[in-house]
Symmetry: C2
Subunit: 137 residues, 2 copies
């Protein structure tokens, strides 16, 4: 599949892609163009080693309470260290994935989360070792 090949290495030329799936370069280009158009391919980007940039501490935070209607989501988005934010079913309202240079900065982020409207508590899970973080298919 074209998507799989591009996930592995998006610098591949359309000619190579075509050869891999039995098409001409032009046809492969056309297919990829449509995948972008439909939003299946959101964008082409680089995968960065966060640890190499000094973000060595990864943690997940369960947030209790909070009025998650309106713009409290925007408040979370404004905190740059938060990589993901999900509304969840289970023992909390919201789950955050946070990456910081150290535990010191994690503490700062938690303090900011606490100031979001209605938040009553947080439970933090610190990642000790990551087996893998990958993209599917």
């Amino acid at each position: 599949m074209l998507i799989g090949l591009l996930q592995e290495d998006a610098t591949r030329s359309y000619a190579m892609l075509g050869k891999a799936v039995g098409l001409s370069g032009g046809a492969a280009h056309e297919r990829v163009r449509k995948l972008r158009e439909r939003g299946v391919i959101r964008r082409t980007t680089i995968e960065v080693d966060q640890a190499a940039l000094g973000h060595t501490v990864t943690s997940y935070v369960m947030v209790d309470g909070g009025s998650w209607m309106g713009d409290s989501a925007a408040e979370l988005a404004a905190i740059p260290e938060i990589e993901e934010a999900h509304v969840i079913a289970g023992p909390a309202s919201v789950l955050l994935k946070i990456r910081t240079p150290g535990t010191r900065e994690l503490q700062d982020v938690l303090r900011r989360v606490f100031q979001v409207d209605g938040v009553t508590g947080t439970r933090t899970i610190v990642v000790l070792e990551t087996f893998f973080e990958r993209t599917l298919k």
Copy 2:
């Protein structure tokens, strides 16, 4: 920063990148080449809309027990629906991020996780809504 620009859109030409940071195209190319060489840039890839590919259910699973030395990590890596696997400090040993087409397939994945050596239990958190999933910096 070159990294930030490439994260936004890795199809930008080196000439444009150079102009953005006050360098020639050749020099920008050289800098990016070194970033790849040092492993700061792991690869260039495409960002795929998982929902468009039919993976609409995202969930996090806390795994209790397990003998996480040796190749039980490899057993997890062999399950394609698992997107991330971390060893954690907190109320479980391992945290998984799983994406499946539906809850039916999630059940199948959980059954396979249970068969990993020493696993005594799992607690599953289903994502109801994702505010954002982004890449830092």
